[in-house]
């Protein structure tokens, strides 16, 4: 079967699909990096934010870190299975990863509902603005990744387009890496 451009042509020696996902991530680094760098400089310049940050729940943050690390683990196992040509197993691992994404979002939903009900909203002060913006942008990436993953899992189960399993994996690990930094920034630094 003639394979699409995504798996073949590449001036860099990298399959085009993967090159594309790396470009996405290079731009995401600047998006999240800019946001987190702004947060960091404001946090360092505003000692009063500490009293607001004291109200985030470290245990919930830690649990969600655990969930994302685990989902990254299943995503990379999906990649391994796909490279061995086992689309069914890859699809199963991708579904497990999607399950991780859903768990993360449900936990986040309860966390936010609780915080908002206590009056901590995006307009409360600078800390909460960054808190909801950064975690919200991240959550949007989790939602997008989970949806794309379902499509890829559907095809992978039929042994189609298996190269995509690696690509969504790379994206998913990046989402994980962003959270790895958000966790100490928003939850541990009190």
């Amino acid at each position: 079967m003639q394979k699409p451009i995504a798996t073949t042509r590449s001036a860099t020696g990298i399959p085009t699909g993967r090159l594309a996902i790396w470009w996405v991530i290079a731009s995401e680094v600047v998006i999240f990096g800019g946001l987190l760098a702004s947060y960091l400089m404001h946090r360092l310049g505003h000692p009063e934010w500490a009293s607001a940050a004291a109200h985030t729940n470290t245990w919930i943050g830690a649990f969600n870190t655990f969930v994302l690390l685990s989902s990254s683990f299943t995503a990379v196992l999906a990649h391994q299975a796909a490279e061995q040509g086992d689309g069914k197993t890859a699809a199963r691992y991708l579904l497990a990863t999607t399950g991780g994404a859903l768990t993360f979002l449900v936990v986040k939903g309860f966390e936010w509902a609780n915080e908002i009900s206590h009056g901590y909203t995006i307009t409360s002060n600078g800390f909460w603005s960054f808190y909801y913006t950064a975690a919200g942008l991240h959550a949007a990436h989790v939602i997008a990744g989970a949806i794309i993953m379902l499509f890829i899992a559907r095809d992978a189960a039929k042994n189609l387009e298996l190269q995509r399993v690696e690509l969504i994996g790379i994206y998913w690990h990046f989402v994980d890496v962003v959270w790895i930094f958000l966790f100490p920034l928003l939850y541990i630094a009190k």
Binding site: T58, Q80, T123, N125
Partner: protein, 231 residues
């Protein structure tokens, strides 16, 4: 998919979980620099493990490492270029009044800044106290004034609070009977809830509507009037 590099993912996953436990446990020691290392040092290690082994950057072509490296450098450049302005609040010929006012609102008593960094709910002036006020439980306008307004408007309402010294225009002086003659209560109420600009006054008067509902703000207005008779 020419490469078939697959390290022992389970080992990496377990390592990541152990690092997670350490990063959560770190702050319990209560030592600042240990927390710094266990929080941010370990975050770097975790991120490196994920990027190298899960994203397979370790086995990727060099051009991709350079490309991602460029993004990281751009981010650091942004930080280096902007942070000095954001983190400092005054220089030789400039003062960032709104940043100073924000700090004064958050920490009315500067001597307690250190405590606030490490202790949760140590003082009634922190967010918890403010939120209790927002919940309307035993709302005390005098306490709210002391927590929120006094830093700029002064403990006695004379517009002479510590944080207000540098402000231009000066914070309102509630002792001044001309102040009360010049505007109806509704304007003062609006200024408290929606901020100075809402009534055509200084933007340095922040909006407090998210903390105080209309009834509470009205109680604050009544409290402000006590300064007038006192003065």
């Amino acid at each position: 998919m020419a490469e078939t590099h697959h390290p022992d993912y389970k080992k990496i996953y377990v390592t990541l979980l152990i690092l997670l436990v350490i990063s959560v446990a770190g702050p319990f020691l209560g030592v600042f620099w240990i927390t710094l290392i266990t929080a941010f040092g370990i975050a770097l290690v975790k991120a490196t493990l994920v990027v190298q082994n899960f994203m397979h950057l370790k086995w990727e072509k060099d051009i991709m490492k350079w490309m991602l490296g460029t993004s990281v450098v751009l981010m650091l450049l942004l930080f280096a270029g902007v942070a000095p302005d954001v983190m400092k609040h005054e220089g030789t010929r400039w003062v960032n009044l709104s940043a100073q006012a924000a700090i004064a609102r958050g920490i009315p008593d500067e001597g307690h800044a250190e405590e606030a960094e490490h202790e949760e709910g140590a003082r009634p002036t922190d967010a918890e106290g403010l939120m209790a006020a927002a919940d309307g439980q035993e709302f005390d306008p005098a306490a709210a004034y002391a927590q929120v307004c006094a830093a700029c408007h002064g403990a006695e309402g004379g517009g002479d609070g510590i944080a207000g010294q540098a402000l231009d225009p000066k914070p309102a002086n509630f002792k001044d009977s001309a102040f009360w003659e010049a505007r109806p209560d509704s304007v003062v109420l609006k200024a408290i809830r929606e901020g100075g600009p809402a009534v055509g006054k200084s933007p340095l008067m922040a909006p407090w509507g998210s903390l105080y509902d209309e009834t509470q703000a009205r109680a604050i207005v009544e409290y402000l009037k006590t300064f007038k008779s006192a003065g």
